[in-house]
């Protein structure tokens, strides 16, 4: 062999070695489910809950499962981050989880399209479970991608209006607003200026105002993010333009972007006791069902009211709807114990008693139709409002996408530029969002 041939051979060998090494890092997809779930088996369950009350609740749920399935033992690992989940799903092996729960619903598109999670359709069929008859429609939407169901909802989150009842009384407002024009009038009435700031703001409309994000607000218009062929629909759906126009109007009515932004910069941490709704800095807020419990824990001094977030005036008949999201649960495709793992997923996601008990314990919205109607569900009227929002047929969610929540962040980014006056042409801006979203998706496919 000549010198140059030897060099070429070495280069080819090195390239092959690198290819092998890198392929080895990708884990192996194992779509078969040949294990016997009636045999004695131990499965591993990873979840992200970390608060002691949440961990206690999930442990109680797992214990109830083990009681019902004495041959299946569950090794529970809590406080797992998304990065750890992704690493484990890639690597597989004996230490990888069999059942995984994640808060990042946005990643479902990637989990399904990459086969990181097992396709649950065969399991659902075998168990005689009809997803459409079991789960609310929006929750079904965010747990599948392009027809492939690789996850199920495990409790959900619903967004609604929180309001300060004492402030309402002081401003002479008898009931929560139902339409956005009523909402604007109430927000203005509740706003008290103090120098170049506020002593109380009716509502923080800026997109950085914690949960007043483009996606949460756009749900009130029922706006659709994608066409039937999967291309971005933001410029075509009039709901998005209407939402931005409304937000701009609110910003102007409440003092202007700069004044609001300066006020916002003094807000306490969203997840801490100094949340501006807790402190009375804002009299109304859009937020999830968890806020009621957090406000009570923070020792809020006023009476809290909750209601569905108002709807556009021309959609008054859809009042009661809101944005939905939630936690997902699925079976890792690398698992060698998929049938046993499915038993745990089935129990946690579809067993009415299990879903109701877990929902009552951590005050997240139940994720099955039966659990939503269960008489055993916590009767707290604040919580019940969110249960109603979750059941509303007009409630919507953000669909799964192949590159996670990138399309939402692109829209949100435009929102920041638009509200700050950096971009004034709304139609051109939304068209730009469409183009960017399509480019990002093309890159991800």
């Amino acid at each position: 062999m000549s010198g140059s041939t030897k060099t070429a051979a070495a280069a080819v060998a090195a390239a092959a070695a690198i290819t092998l090494l890198t392929s080895a890092c990708t884990g192996s997809a194992n779509n078969t489910a040949g294990d016997d779930p009636s045999k004695d088996v131990t499965i591993t369950f990873w979840h992200g809950w970390s608060a002691p009350s949440e961990v206690k609740a999930i442990d109680a749920n797992v214990k109830a499962f083990e009681k019902a399935h004495p041959n299946i033992h569950v090794k529970v690992q809590g406080n797992i981050t998304d990065d750890k989940i992704n690493q484990a799903l890639r690597a597989g092996g004996p230490n990888a989880p069999d059942v995984v729960s994640s808060f990042t619903t946005d990643n479902v598109g990637k989990f399904c399209s990459s086969n990181a999670f097992a396709d649950l359709d065969p399991f659902l069929k075998k168990a005689g479970i009809d997803p459409a008859a079991t789960f609310p429609k929006p929750m079904l939407e965010y747990t599948q991608f392009e027809g492939k169901r690789c996850t199920l909802p495990l409790l959900g989150d619903a967004y609604g209006l929180y309001y300060n009842k004492d402030a309402f009384k002081a401003a002479g407002i008898a009931s929560p607003p139902k339409t956005l024009s009523e909402f604007k009038a109430d927000a203005v009435k509740l706003t008290k200026s103090k120098g170049d700031s506020y002593s109380q703001l009716g509502f923080m409309p800026n997109f950085h105002g914690y949960e007043s994000t483009t996606t949460h607000l756009a749900a009130q218009w029922g706006a659709k993010y994608f066409d039937a062929d999967g291309t971005s629909n933001v410029a075509k759906d009039p709901g998005f333009a209407a939402m931005f126009t409304w937000q701009q109007d609110m910003v102007k009515a409440l003092g202007g972007f700069k004044k609001l932004e300066k006020y916002r910069s003094g807000f306490g941490d969203e997840w801490g006791a100094k949340n501006p709704f807790h402190t009375g800095q804002v009299a109304m807020a859009i937020d999830g069902e968890w806020r009621a419990g957090m406000a009570k824990e923070a020792g809020t001094k006023f009476e809290i009211g909750v209601a569905p977030f108002p709807v556009p005036d021309d959609q008054a008949d859809t009042y009661g709807k809101g944005y939905l999201s939630g936690t997902i649960i699925g079976v890792a495709n690398t698992s060698a114990k998929k049938n046993a793992a499915w038993e745990l997923v089935k129990y946690m996601a579809t067993d009415t008693d299990a879903v109701v008990a877990f929902s009552n314990a951590i005050h997240n919205v139940p994720s099955t139709l039966a659990a939503l109607k269960s008489p055993d569900l916590d009767a707290d009227p604040l919580f019940r409002t969110f249960v109603e929002i979750a059941q509303n047929p007009n409630s919507t969610t953000t669909p799964a996408s192949v590159n996670g929540g990138t399309y939402q962040l692109t829209l949100q980014d435009f929102g920041y530029a638009y509200e700050a006056g950096k971009q004034s042409d709304l139609a051109a801006g939304l068209k730009g969002v469409d183009e960017q979203v399509d480019k990002d998706i093309a890159q991800a496919r």
Partner: protein
């Protein structure tokens, strides 16, 4: 051609093996921790790889996407270059200034040394959060004092014009590492050279220019090169500052796009995370990593060339 004696050949082979054995710890370390990751990064930059399915050939699409279609790349590159030029320069000047000051102080030098060094030990996340609190435009004490003094009250981390200067202030606050290095270098300058310069009538500036600077130039170069490389990897502080100031801390499961306000705190390492771990686009993340590598190499080569490396005037 005369044949090499077999014994001589065996001796040479043994010699080569011995050298290789001595070098092996470094060779293994270099191969595993530098060469393999670098080759892999180049390889993945041409592949479509989401971290789950096996990689497939993608040609130059990742490169084209990053340079033409990824809206965060150019702002992040501009920010990184701004920080490299402004922040590194100011850190070196400030570090040297503090070092000079402390070496001249007759009493209480230990106290000042400690006071200037301590902030460097603060964890970056905690330090950034403290700065975000101090510089909060609505409730922070800094703007309160500036307002009382009748001075303008910037938006700091909430204003795209002021966010990078605010990060620079944070970096200057944690100057302890450079201060210690410069102090050691300054104390190492031979005293007789200063005495000779004084006898020749050199003033303080001339002594600094013609005695101090040539003597500490290798350390100066070291500070600049390591500063450039560190700034290329600047991740935690801008991310935390942007997150805290934006208020969008993100609940469980919410994704967060870094760069608040208006992409002004975006840096290239943040994009590696955004692409690789949030968008599952390992290929494009590798492109950014290679851009960073090329930039670090270019800056280092430029600096070394301009200053003849780490040589002192004597060398």
């Amino acid at each position: 051609m005369s044949a090499v004696h077999p014994m001589l050949r065996a001796k040479r082979r043994r010699e080569a093996l011995r050298i290789l054995a001595f070098m092996s710890p470094w060779l293994i370390g270099f191969s595993v921790f530098f060469a393999y990751p670098l080759v892999s990064t180049v390889y993945f930059s041409f592949m479509k790889y989401d971290g789950f399915a096996a990689p497939t050939w993608n040609g130059v699409r990742n490169w084209s996407y990053v340079f033409n279609d990824y809206p965060f790349f150019w702002p992040a590159l501009r920010n990184t270059l701004w920080l490299v030029v402004v922040m590194v320069s100011l850190r070196v000047v400030f570090g040297l200034g503090i070092g000079l000051l402390i070496t001249k102080i007759k009493t209480g030098a230990g106290l000042f040394r400690t006071a200037f060094y301590l902030p460097y030990l603060a964890p970056p996340v905690a330090a950034t959060m403290a700065f975000a609190f101090l510089l909060n435009p609505g409730t922070g004490p800094v703007n309160h004092l500036l307002g009382k003094a009748g001075l303008p009250t910037p938006g700091w981390f909430n204003d795209p014009t002021w966010s990078k200067p605010a990060l620079t202030l944070l970096a200057l606050w944690g100057i302890g590492d450079l201060m210690v290095i410069f102090m050691a270098a300054l104390l190492d300058v031979p005293k007789e050279q200063y005495e000779a310069a004084e006898l020749d009538g050199a003033g303080p500036w001339a002594r600094f220019r013609y005695v101090t600077l040539p003597n500490i130039s290798p350390i100066l170069m070291f500070a600049v090169v390591t500063g450039v490389i560190q700034t290329m990897q600047y991740y935690t502080q801008p991310l935390v500052a942007g997150k805290v100031a934006s208020g969008v801390i993100g609940g469980s499961g919410q994704q967060f796009e870094p760069g608040y306000p208006e992409k002004s705190t975006l840096t290239l390492p943040q994009l590696v995370y955004n692409l690789g771990f949030q968008r599952f686009d390992t290929g494009s993340a590798c492109v950014i990593a290679l851009v960073l590598f090329a930039l670090a190499m270019a800056f280092t080569a430029l600096l070394m060339r301009r200053r003849s490396g780490f040589l002192t005037a004597e060398d």
